[in-house]
Symmetry: C2
Subunit: 397 residues, 2 copies
Amino acid sequence: MGQSREPNDQDRSGRPASVAQAVAWIDQATCCLPAERVPLDDAVGRVLAADCRADRAMPQHDRAALDGFAVRAQQSIGAGAYNPLTLPAIVVAAGDLLPTEMNAVVPLAAADPEGTGMVALVEPVSPGENVQLRGAVAAAGAALVRSGTRLAARHIGLLAAAGIAEIAAVRQPRVSLLLVGPTASQGLRDSNRPMLRALVRRDGGIIADEVAATRERSTLAAALAAAGGELVLVVGGSGAGPDDHAAAALAEAGELALHGLALHPGETSGFGSLGGTRPVVLLPGAPPACLWSYELFAGRAIRRLGGRDPALPFRSCRVTAARKIISTIGIAEVCPVRLGETAQTIEPLPSFAEIGLGAVAIADGVTIVPAASEGHAQGAEVTIYLFEDHHGLRIGL
Amino acid sequence: MGQSREPNDQDRSGRPASVAQAVAWIDQATCCLPAERVPLDDAVGRVLAADCRADRAMPQHDRAALDGFAVRAQQSIGAGAYNPLTLPAIVVAAGDLLPTEMNAVVPLAAADPEGTGMVALVEPVSPGENVQLRGAVAAAGAALVRSGTRLAARHIGLLAAAGIAEIAAVRQPRVSLLLVGPTASQGLRDSNRPMLRALVRRDGGIIADEVAATRERSTLAAALAAAGGELVLVVGGSGAGPDDHAAAALAEAGELALHGLALHPGETSGFGSLGGTRPVVLLPGAPPACLWSYELFAGRAIRRLGGRDPALPFRSCRVTAARKIISTIGIAEVCPVRLGETAQTIEPLPSFAEIGLGAVAIADGVTIVPAASEGHAQGAEVTIYLFEDHHGLRIGL
């Protein structure tokens, strides 16, 4: 957290920091938390902190891969439509241990039972056919699922099959929310609290505590000093207005590293730390600015602490701008966009400044216009982040 | 559920049903469940059963869009670098109601305070500049979030801002798991139960009850008759072996509509109903077959009941087969694949028959080769379903 001790060039010059500088600050301030033991039944969605290995060969013995007749392959040599061969066979179900001396399985439909324990075959079978061989799923000691994997249902199935009842998972980051009340004159409904609770949960964090504080600097500084968890989010009071004391309170309780970003929405975001180690993000109180400051910085901190992919948790793709997308030069801008019918093009929508969070209900996603750009020309190829997973093709078998 | 009363052509012919027929059966057997009221705090991930509308204009009054000075725009006409104009101004924070008779906001940095309640401007400002106008987010009565939307954190923020404390959500489907024990000779660890619990939860279902039954037909039929929920999943005992009675038990307790699919893994899947209305899916006991029969059919039923997109919950994309992908003609085959370095090509991996669930830990996704095809030629363009969301591009501002 060296950066939090010496204010950087941006602070000294008074110019706002860039998005890249803020991302770099988050990255140096956060790293993956230590592991904890988690029962497999609660492990879905958790990030493995160590490889899960097979303690023995899987399967441990040769097994039938399907329902059928276990036979000795060498006895079927020469079988044909004009030369059906009758040989000893044992009925097996998929998953059954292969009976001793049998080395292949003939599907039920491919053999005619001939009295007790015998079948007639009209074609030969190879050794190992329809048999899952010892160690085929995994050799003893082999890695089943790698460290860093976020466990999905299918991994749970594999680990359960290996007899693993507990895994080592990255601990979930505990996040403190310090909610600075709106000014009395605003009479606004608090939309940030429920939104942030859902966002923190989506990114694998746990709300450790949630404190509503008044706007006074001393109250905020005291609340900051008392906040728990691995990350503190101060919501509101981050601006330069006479009622805004979040930055000053952080400087008093800990260290303020960056304040003010070349990002819209999100201009008044700030970054610092408590006790030199615990990162604090100052989120603007205006809901769209709170949302994007969370997504780009606070969420990134939570994702890094929890061992997840730190990138925005949206699918990105390259599309063509069907119309010009205008943005202010010198400031990165998050622009709501709507996909065209073929999902190959996008059109700009009214900005977050104009229609606030209303944009998130009508947009398919956003494009982030870099600070150095005045926008995207019509026909330009543009990276967008899609809110929903557009599955695109549907299964059509 | 008409189809469940007259066995169809596939049953009469003894030929296995196609994947398309099974999907069509699921689709006619399931429809979206009725709504229930859900507090907004618990609503993330739920599917809206009705449009959420703004009960009044949002915002209800003109508000400052950023921290600055509220001014009367017409008083700034003629202001310039060589003609600074001093005019009355009131300090406002983002979100503040615009003071009476003021109609624009000048950012803090763009004006010099001149004594109490006055600022000097060096350029004119337009009416409405940096003001969020009454109704800009939503007009009174306008739809904020549409019926059918699965609520994400950002929607929760918008609905909270509108003062909505409770929403109408599609009820979550209740699913009964009827687990048929492995045969005594198998001594297998049960991987299906934990995997299915995670899968049902992922798709928005709730496990209503979970019954472990022995393999006897009469026990199974009794358990089926007693099962609750909107969907019953029987796991195991679906094959044609002497110990497999799931299909017969379903025919006894209700109706068996389809049994046996041209799908690998998943050949022994079955479909039917209880009381003519409650769908039952027979899932094979072999874990890879259980997984794919769930993903393609049982999961689809849960997703449809819960008002979600019924398609496979994986991102699909078109890629090039870098090597030939072999499959048996006459049967659709789920083939594990690995993406090439550029994510433009795929290579086949050992099949589910060969390495069981081991395939899900090494694969990036699957391709489903249709029954009519012998596989994909090298260089063919192929649809794949990706297990994880490959975000592809990273934010790099």
